[in-house]
Amino acid sequence: MNETLNITIIGILIFSAIRLATPMIFAALGGMFSERSGVINIALEGLMLCGAFTAAVVTYELSNPYLGFLCGIAAGGLLALIFAVVVIEFEADQVVAGFGINVLMLGIPALLSSAIYDSAGSTEQIPKEYLLPEVFGLNIASILAFLLVPLAWYVLYKTPFGLRIRAVGENPEAADAAGVKVQTMRYTGVILSGILAAAGGAYLSIGQSSFFTRGMSAGKGFIALAALILAKWRPIPVLVACFFFGLTEALAIQIQGSSWAKIGGEDIPVQFIEMLPYVLTIIVLAGFIGLSRAPKALGIPYRTKK
């Protein structure tokens, strides 16, 4: 194999990895705010779908991707609010409720799009000129996602708000005693997660592709969750983990049917590359690669002492 080909392949892989990592970065950063405040968020998948569907419908109807994007993240925030009420107000099991949100977002977009567009669960194709534009070969949503990482780091570690979020996730009793409104902080964390995950979803439907299809996030919300755990709930490692997962996905797409990806004349089965993020997460979670420590109060409802 000659060198130019090598470089081309690496270039394609990196660009493709950035594109594929974009929705995961949004969702994982969102999940970080929720989980750092003490609320387990397996609803990322559903929140992404909510953003993807709303963005696709609004962009198509109004021919404006920016409005579509904004409506998408607003819808994500609203759905996250419902989730927050169920888990914070009613103290429902956070995993069960998150799972319910995911199922809801398989159903509702499909139900509405078959009613509005008379198609089996997908929206109409948006003309290319109304999709989120690209700058320097990268979608502006990708650029936004990468810029959000340092911002999230700053917010989480350098602002009073971030301190409070972390405090209610680690030790809500102490935070409460210090005058922090635990419930309010958790609402904020969960709603932020909805907004960010929905931004990732919106990128899927009006950036990467040009319409919404049923279940189009295809497990990306769960990979984002895996990335978050791998990153031990920290923003900069979240970026690294998401990029790595994007790379494995890019690799999986590239090797299908290509001549260079062979070991001893045999194809590398794409399934094994697909499995990699999940296997890695289990290994990290078991503590084989450093200690994985979740926020202490993660998953535990908190009742304000009267």
Partner: protein, 358 residues
């Protein structure tokens, strides 16, 4: 009246789902009453309606029981989907390897089997495979939780993806008949199949695939009840679910119970393969599960983690699943996705009402 109290919150959740779903249907522009009538009525009144509903309910009973047993030990098994996938593939593999299966590859007869066991040996062997392989796949997150304290929810989610990729690999590269455009294995040997109930009961239409596995599902409801409430092991398992620290104080090892509960849970989920592989499709077909593993969570929640409740809830969801097809066909705008919306609202309400129902 304990039974009424137990049934109250599930009924509130179902009612809420129909009210909210009804409003949604109105907004879409259809008539909620006729839609719900289509959703529900086709499962009653005819032998076909009833027996098809029971066919839909069978896998849900298994996965519902699977999730319920784990719940009783304080664990949430989101991995029933992965467990039933590996179990189904393994069952088909045994059915091919020990079922004397000769495969036609472009006109060339190839013997893919190692042996041709008689049905009296092969049927129990395949059933045991379904249970053991599902159980082992379930045991992995149980072991990881007991040994390293890693959360079973994350691990079962990850293991679902791994399971599906793994069996897809084995099917695609090793057990698919070359040239077959569909991702499925060769057929299992005839001796590995179990009979359909229409062979014994003439009132069941010939094309309804309800098979022996439904009777096994009923038996499992009974066995799970006996296990959980009438044996020492079941008592210990539930004790850990109620309070791990109190159980430990009482001399019960929570770690051991966690592994046991997840193994049983996985085994029950794996039993879906008995009906699907041995009773219905007679091979492993990729994508055969209509997300039964996940529906099992809704079934267990609505059934309040009790075998009788699971049975009733499984029938209820089976009615919805089957009714969804009629809604799709006979309403103007509403699609079968309505079923998922109702399911989601039920899950959210049951979860939200949990703290009042204790």
């Amino acid at each position: 009246m304990k039974i009424f109290r137990e049934a109250l919150y599930p009924l509130i959740a179902v009612t809420a789902a129909f009210v909210i779903g009804g409003i949604l249907i109105l907004l879409i522009g259809d008539n909620p009453l006729t839609t719900f009538q289509l959703l529900l009525e086709n499962s009653f009144g005819s032998a076909r309606g009833i027996t098809e509903t029971l066919f839909y309910a069978t896998p849900l009973i298994f996965t519902g029981l699977a999730v319920a047993v784990a719940f009783r030990c304080g664990l949430l098994n989101i991995g029933a989907e992965g467990q039933l996938y590996v179990a189904a593939f393994a069952t088909a593999w045994v059915g091919i390897k020990f079922g004397g299966r000769v495969v036609d590859v472009f006109g060339d007869k190839q013997d893919w089997s190692w042996a041709a066991l008689p049905a009296i040996l092969l049927v129990p062997l395949c059933m045991a495979t379904a249970i053991i392989v599902g159980g082992l796949w379930g045991a992995i997150p149980g072991y990881l939780k007991a040994k390293f304290g890693s959360h079973e929810v994350i691990n079962t989610i990850m293991l679902n993806f791994i399971a599906i990729a793994l069996v897809s690999y084995f099917t695609q590269y090793h057990y698919k008949i070359p040239g077959d455009p569909i991702l499925q294995t060769a057929q299992i040997g005839d001796a590995a199949t179990i009979p359909q109930l229409n062979q014994f009961f003439s009132f069941i239409p010939a094309d309804v695939k309800l098979n022996i596995s439904f009777l096994i599902a009923i038996l499992m409801c009974f066995l799970v009840y006996v296990f959980l409430w009438k044996t020492k092991w079941g008592y210990e398992l539930r004790a850990v679910g109620q309070s791990p620290s109190a159980a430990e104080y009482g001399g019960i090892s929570p770690k051991k119970q966690i592994i046991i509960a997840m193994t049983i849970s996985g085994g029950l989920a794996g039993m879906v393969a008995i009906g699907e592989v041995m009773g219905f499709r007679h091979n492993y077909y990729h994508g055969f599960s209509a997300e039964w593993g996940f529906l099992g969570i809704a079934v267990a929640l609505l059934g309040r983690n009790h075998p009788l409740g699971v049975f009733i809830a499984a029938i209820f969801f089976a009615i919805l699943l089957r009714g969804g097809i009629f809604v799709d066909a006979f309403t103007r705008y509403v699609s079968k996705d309505l079923v998922e919306v109702l399911q989601a609202i039920i899950i959210l309400f049951v979860a939200a009402l949990q703290k009042y129902s204790k």
